[in-house]
Symmetry: C2
Subunit: 404 residues, 2 copies
Amino acid sequence: MALARRTPILLAPGPTEIDPRVLKSMGAVAESHFAQPFCNTFGDVLTMLRVLFQSEDPNAQPFVIGGSGTLGWDFVATNFIEPGEAVLCLSTGYFSDGFEMCLSTYGARTTRMAVPIGTAPDISKIEEALRAVRYKALVVAHVDTSTGVLVPLKPLSDLLNRVSPDTLFIVDGVASVACEDLRFTAWGVDVVATGSQKAIGCPPGLSILMVSPRALKVAKTRKAPPSTWYASLTRWLPIMENYERKQSSYFATPPTQIIHALHTSLTVMLSRPLEERFRLHKETSARVKAVVEELGLKQVATHTEHQANGLTAFWLPDGLTSKAFLSKVSAKGITFVGGMQKEVGHMYVRFGHMGYSAVSKEEGHIDKGIKTLREVMMEFYAGRSNDSGFAYEGTFTGPARASL
Amino acid sequence: MALARRTPILLAPGPTEIDPRVLKSMGAVAESHFAQPFCNTFGDVLTMLRVLFQSEDPNAQPFVIGGSGTLGWDFVATNFIEPGEAVLCLSTGYFSDGFEMCLSTYGARTTRMAVPIGTAPDISKIEEALRAVRYKALVVAHVDTSTGVLVPLKPLSDLLNRVSPDTLFIVDGVASVACEDLRFTAWGVDVVATGSQKAIGCPPGLSILMVSPRALKVAKTRKAPPSTWYASLTRWLPIMENYERKQSSYFATPPTQIIHALHTSLTVMLSRPLEERFRLHKETSARVKAVVEELGLKQVATHTEHQANGLTAFWLPDGLTSKAFLSKVSAKGITFVGGMQKEVGHMYVRFGHMGYSAVSKEEGHIDKGIKTLREVMMEFYAGRSNDSGFAYEGTFTGPARASL
């Protein structure tokens, strides 16, 4: 029940540190989701999301549903893809693969295009695949949070336009929306699914999606009824339309407090140009990546153009486990998190620098993160050169399983 | 973004007024869901839920998943029932029917046992149905929030034991958990699904379930794989088991702040005996129902034994629409809500008295609700006897669509 700051500064790639104004909105008093004040709040949220997603077509539709970002995968799988339809999934980490497994659970015939960790599929290979099979959808994680690999969307958009214009362009934007430039309309994206707790800067608890008019039509005219109740687009659509008109309607009770927090977060975010926000994320990212390099550490994402701006994932040197590293970092008041990619998850760590921490320099979160990273690595190197080892295990008592 | 109390006192049957201590927990600072402090919090929550549900078998399993209470229906439909299996659904209102429609969406062969509004199916009819067909599950809303009809569970439990012991006993406890006596183990309940925002007294955003060892086995040994990702029991099970052991593990990011709020709410709730809590709800309910009767109003639930203790739904007299009534009530600083049952939803209203408002007399919420109810009805009666009409419409500016 304690609320005092008992946790380190959270520099994870989500959840992220929260603007105190946003956190304050979480304490909004109970109110009816049918009452006008809440309708106004939710309506504004939906309209502001159009701006955040750079969605310029009024016939596109934002959705905000109680649940985690993962629920967005079910929403995609059950509304836009019919059982047996072919989907091309670009595999750049744990989350791309999770999305693919979710699609296949609902009966999609998925093709996983895998590449070595830290890289992204070559555009020519994707073209080849798109020419060989008539895919219902191309699914890509804009940034896979597990590896920090970014897949540039514009080239994919151009490719689809050129060789497979009927293929839906579906993007997992969990670790990219609000920290990477993502032009929903200009790039012909059909669906973006994201969560509230990453660069959007809210607590976790909302699945947020933007859906193109074309994808809406696919969902509304599908032959097989969607095998879901809670994730059904046709059930949520009138609810979202009504709330955006500031009228209540009911399918399931919305998480009113987190929607208040989202309202505050969007209001703060959109009070400045989006370009500035993306630039700040790039600058912050460049600072962190320069320090990582200076310390002789290698990023997981091998190529500059595939390195995300919201996090930096880097390999630890031999002799330094992620558990030892994270414990040491935690003892200095910072939370980074471990890797999460099968056999190598324990060999790398992730420094998150998205959302509030990235844009609010006055908080000094990133400075402290960089300082801590430097200190821990210098101590490790010093210990190694002294041949004394780096016996952190058992000495520091950080989060027991933070390396998960 | 304003946080000042701009809304009336919320006497709806959920969301409900929130204990200030619980609301404060919503402002918990960002923390990693992998870190030990959060593991401890979530672990305690799961263990405390066993007490709240009166679940005495350590092999039963609580689940806490980001989403609304409605998500619990998908969880039931996809994990415990296989396509084509027969399910008997007792229909006592909008929510029972929604649950039934959800089950049928996932392929269950449902039988809806309908009764006139305000009543509950006769136990002899249920026995007849159970003898005629081998049902995989009996599904019942302990309290249907739309009508305030309570179905006593103990007689159903006895009946199932006697005539159909293999049938799973599945309960929608959204409007009953934490305000009605619900003995999970003693009454042989297999699944209870509820939400965070009713008598549990948290903000909305969590789907909370308790599952019996027998139902767990059904889910784990089903033939058809569950057609869901986000609501898959087998995916969530290890996560819940690990968190209760205070170890992190990952399937989807939990809504950390609402889980903090739930921790506070459960801690406060369980600091007093559950019997006392149920007694306080009964006393509060009896007070409200006595006033309703005294004012010449008829409850929707026709029989005393079918009247819920967490809300009172009552018909409005001729000439008084729910819109006019609710606007008048709202102008006096109270939120009741309208009916939600097809053709007659506009003819009745609901006074919620569950959770914090019911047990914290010092707040005086219920007193204010009763006072307002009396005043509005007396004014209506006075206006009618003066033959002046009750021209509230257009005069008061309460929530525009609160009657939904």
